[in-house]
Every structure is written in C-alpha cells, then in structure tokens.
Amino acid sequence: MSAPQEGSGRKLGAIVVAVALIAVAGIVAADAIRLGTVRTFGPGIGPRAFPWAIAIGLALLGLANLVVALKGKAVETAPVEMGPALWVIGGLVGQIALLSFAGFSIATGVLFGMTARGFGRGPLWLTIPIGAALSFVLYVIFTKALALTLPAGPLEKLV
C-alpha cells in the first residue's frame, strides 16, 4: 500500500470515530425520549435530564471531532495490524465459549495460548497446555486460599 492511501485510510478512520460518537449520542437521546413518558414526582429533575445533557454533549463533541477529522488534523494514528489482534480477540471469545463446560483452566489456557500466538509464539499444542497448567495453579490458589468462586470443569473437579 502506498503512503497517501494509508493517510486517507487514517482520515477515514477518524471520520468513522466521529460518526460513531454521534450515533452513540443518538442512542442515549432515544433512551431519554423513551424515559420522557415516565412520570416523576416532587420537585427536581427526573431521570432523563442527565441523559439529555450527555447526549447533547456527545453530539457536539462528535461534530467537533468530525470537523477536525475532515480537516485532516486528527492525530496520526499508529499503523494497525489486525491479524495478531484477531488472535487475541479470538482467545477471549474462545475462553467465553469454553468456560461453562471446559472449566476455568482449559478455557483460560486457550486464551493464554492464542494470545501468545498473536505475539508470535507458538505452537498452540504446547502453549495452550502451559496456559492451562498456569491457570490451574491460579484456580487452586484463588479458590482455596482466597475463597473466590471460579467456574469448574473436568480438571477442576479433580481437586
């Protein structure tokens, strides 16, 4: 990819952020309108005053960000490589997916292995067991010594 294209890509990113801010403002405002039907008692402002203030603030900030972005004055953002980031995100999703039946250690081992893979360290068949072993030790410490509750699976049932 040539340099100018990358520059315009970054400008596009900043514009997307500004538009997203305005969208969030819209969501908050829509919720405030919904609350408008709620009757409040006594003096003072009701539950919708703050949402309105925040929605208006966000919308104005979104517009200001949009102006800055369109002028191309947005802060130079670092070039982003999504591939490695997707490994890490995948690890987090994998942990959530596995947690309820595989238990804390195995699910978190997957997170550990895939994160390490994102940073360029493999292979997964080695790093996932390492992560699972580490998580198992943490599981024992935190549930036995610190009395926290963590999701148990086949491995955890052994202790």
Partner: protein, 501 residues
C-alpha cells in the same frame, strides 16, 4: 494536634502483625506487577483488586495502600530501564532516567528515584494526615450543590489534564458518562440504556471497565503495532549506590518535587503530570550542570519522581475526605472501597476512624517497606522486566479475566470485558485518553445524584449553583481550568514535553 493522636491510633492498627503482613504482601505484589512494562499503577490496582476481595475491609485497604505505592515504585523502575512509561506522570522520569541508564548510571537513577519516592511519600503522607481533618471539617458544610460543582471541577480538569487535547479528553469523559448511565436510576427506579438485558440493570462495573480499557485495550494495541520491536532493557552497570555528589544533587530536587506534587495532587483538580513537568522545568533552570540535561541529569529524575509520588499521596486527600477520585487509580480505589459498602467522605472519618487512620498509617509503613525491600531486590525486579512479551501479555489477560470472574462469575461480565476492551483498543488506536472514561463512569452517577438532590432541595431553582458561595467558587475555578490551558498553550507553542519515542 488531633491529627497526631489519630495517626498514632492508626499506627497501632497498621502495625498489628496481620496488617503488617498484608502491607508487605501488598507492596511486593504491587511492585512485581507495576514493574511489568506498560502496566501503570491504575492497572496494577485494578488487576490486584480481586486478591483483596475476601479479606476484611481494614486488611484489604491496607493491602491496597501497599499495592498503590508498590505500583508507583515499580512503574518508575520500568520507565527508567525500558523507557516505557506506564502512565503519563512517569513520562518525565523516563526522559532523563532512561538516558542515565543508557550512559551506565542506571543504578544511581533507580536509587534516587527510590529514595526520592520515599522522602516525598513520607512528607506527603504526613501532609495528608495533617490536612485531612481540615478538609473534612470544610466538607461537612458542603451541600449537594457544592458537591455537584466540585465534580464539575474534577471533570473540567481531568479532561484538560489527560492527553494532549481538550477535545479528545472531553470526548473520552463523555463516553465514560454515557457508560455511567447504564442501569437502574437509583432515584426514580427507572432502567436506562438497558436494552432489555437484565444483566445491564446493575450498570457497568468500574473495575471491569478499568481492567478492560487498560489491560485488554492495551494488549490489543501493543499486538497490533506493525513491526514493533521488543524494547531494549538497559542493563545496570557499575555501582547501584549514589555517590556523595549524587546525594548533594538529589536532596533539593526531592524536596522541591514534593512541594510541587503534594499541593497539586491534593487539589480537587488533581493530575500528576503537571507537577512532574513543573519540577522538571524547575530543576533544569536551577541546576549547576545544565549541560547534562538531555543526556541524563540526576536532578531530572529526582525531582519529577518525588513530585509524582507526592502527588499520588495528595490524590488521597480529595478521595478520602470528599469521596472524589481525581485519577484513574483513585477511581479504582474508590470502587474498592465501595465493594465493602464504604463511602469515602467526611462521614467515613467519623464513622470508621480506625479504618481511615489505619489506612493513612499504612501508607507510612508501605513507604518504609518499599525502601527496605526495593534497593536490595532491584536485581529481581529487573529480571521481571525481561519476561518475553508473548508470556507477559498472555499472563496479563489470564489475570484480567481471572479478576473479572472472581468479582462476578458470569459469562456476561466476561463479554462486557471483551466489549469494553475493544472500545479501549479503538480509543488507543485513534489517540483518545483512557483515564477520563473511567473517571466519567464513576463520577457521572455521583454528580447526577448530587445535582438532583440540590434541585429537589431548592425546588428546581438552578441559581442554587451560584448562590452558594462554595459552589460559585468551584464553578469559577472549573471555568478557569478549561480556559487557562488553552490560553497558555497558544502562548508557548514552542515548548512540548512528553512526546514518547
């Protein structure tokens, strides 16, 4: 003199063997986590919060005090040896400290940072003990309108101080405020922004948000940097100890740094960057060795590091006396208090004097322990710095999810962690500061409650915000805090600090 009596009572609590052990565990864990590259005190405290869940409040807050100071200390070690400041207030320490390390004077740089932190921490903690009772007596006269204006002041300064642009700071702050809306409105019982999801009724957990934004967001940011090479750790060559000349050049900057750091940190405005920058600029002007600045001058480490620590202790003044967090770390500590149903503020001093003074006294103990622990163990901390990044970040994510699950064992919470982590990633990529999001999230609902109380008392008369003298003064300062930096910035465009790399 009351303060000394209370403090003595606090020391009696802090020196109980069990509490002393908690404090020791706290400083050790705090240093060990804080020293890891890219992890600042805020994340250190957030990651280690679950460790304290099941302890009694006194023990856990004492451990917290240790974690806080340990995290600060560990952060300066990695700033000096790696030049990766974990937070904006260590940028200045990293500036001269890393240059000292590169020229083979890493030992004295770490020593002056450690001893300077100790001196600053001891003086500032004493300041906290002396000042707190006065602020409490003032705070007892605060009406809801005054509290609301105080929070507006905090919003104004937080968004102006964090990050380089007020627009970006405010944007982050408002995102935090919007997140703070989620859940049941305590005054009317109405659900807001819940989208029909029952799990959202309790709102967004501050600790989950802090861990997600700082740990997950940061990990994703680091992993996505193209061709980012591993940082080089400067080995410590030569003597670890400071020479007589080092001492002579360090003690005044320590004291001056403390004099900048504590008052600024103690103001409800807060912010640790300003005193560190002021201290750096002052030392640069006063030094007898101007030629060394920019090449590794010991004054440039001693002063800012003292300022940083003094302001960290100063931050506890508004946190403990007013319940007002002015830094991300303080916001997470406030969440820590709340998990025990404790609300910091003037009433806590009256209701739980043992707890508050025990906490203040343990700050002294933590400070002393750190000095004893860290100088001899420096080799061990340096070894922690060299953990390869795949293992380091893998471990950080394991801990982040462990903490979230420990606090609230639900898949939904883990999903929120991921979603907020992606938000943090986006903010980092586009250069928006993270800390105002956390502050907005915790302070927004508090500000709303105070404003609604104020208006209920005044029968919807908004002028209560300016007719109360305290409130009027606070709002004026808030306006100045937004306007002044813009004026100053346009004036001295030439001077810029804090551009990393």
């Amino acid at each position: 003199m009351d303060a000394f009596v209370s403090l003595a009572g606090g020391l009696a609590v802090a020196l109980q063997p069990m509490n002393l052990a908690f404090c020791l565990i706290g400083v050790t864990l705090g240093t060990a986590v804080g020293v890891l590259p890219g992890i600042g005190p805020a994340l250190t405290v957030a990651l280690l919060l679950p460790v304290t869940f099941k302890l009694d409040p006194a023990g856990s807050l004492i451990m917290f005090a240790g974690i806080y100071y340990g995290g600060m200390y560990g952060g300066s070690t990695s700033s000096i040896l790696l030049n990766t400041p974990g937070e904006s207030s260590s940028i200045v320490t990293a500036l001269e400290g890393n240059l000292m390390a590169r020229s083979g004077r890493g030992g004295p740089a770490l020593a002056t940072a450690a001893i300077g932190s100790f001196v600053a921490g001891a003086i500032a903690t004493l300041g906290l003990a002396l000042l707190a009772p006065y602020v409490v007596s003032v705070a007892l006269a605060f009406w809801p309108a005054d509290y609301f204006s105080l929070m507006i002041l905090a919003f104004a300064t937080v968004s102006a101080a964090f990050g380089d642009s007020a627009l970006r700071g405010l944007t982050s702050l408002f995102l935090g405020l919007a997140l703070g809306l989620v859940g049941i409105d305590l005054m009317s019982g109405q659900a807001r922004l819940d989208f029909g999801v029952p799990d959202l009724l309790d709102g967004v957990e501050v600790t989950t948000a802090a861990v997600a934004l700082f740990a997950i967001g940061e990990t994703l940011f680091v992993v996505s940097r193209k061709g980012a090479a591993d940082e080089t750790i400067e080995p410590i060559k030569g003597s670890l100890w400071m020479t007589r000349e080092d001492w002579a050049r360090s003690w005044k900057p320590w004291l001056r740094g403390t004099a900048f750091g504590f008052p600024i940190g103690a103001m409800p405005a807060g912010g640790a960057e300003i005193p560190t920058f002021l201290s750096y600029a002052t030392e640069r002007r006063l030094t007898k060795h101007p030629e060394e600045f920019g090449k590794g001058a010991i004054e440039g480490v001693a002063g800012p590091e003292a300022a940083n620590n003094a302001s960290a202790a100063g931050t506890l003044v508004p946190l403990l006396t007013l319940g007002l967090p002015t830094s991300a770390t303080a916001a997470i500590m406030l969440a820590g208090f709340q998990q025990y149903g404790l609300n910091p503020g003037p009433l806590l001093f009256a209701a739980k004097p043992d707890l508050v003074w025990g906490l203040i006294a343990s700050l002294f103990v933590a400070n002393a322990l750190l000095l004893i622990l860290n100088l001899p163990l420096i080799g061990l901390w340096v070894r922690l710095l060299s953990i390869p990044r795949p293992w380091l970040y893998g471990g950080i994510l394991v801990f982040a999810t462990l903490g979230t699950l420990g606090a609230n064992p639900s898949l939904f919470e883990l999903g929120s962690l991921l979603a907020l982590g992606l938000l943090g990633f986006g903010l980092r990529v586009f250069g928006y500061p993270i800390a105002p999001v956390v502050i907005g999230l915790i302070l927004g609902p508090m500000a709303e409650v105070q404003l609604r109380r104020a208006l209920a008392i005044s029968q919807n008369d908004w002028s209560v915000l300016i007719t109360s003298p305290i409130s009027a003064v606070l709002l004026t300062i808030a306006a100045l805090a937004v306007i002044l930096p813009i004026v100053l910035k346009t004036r001295e465009k030439g001077i810029t600090f804090g551009e990393d790399d």
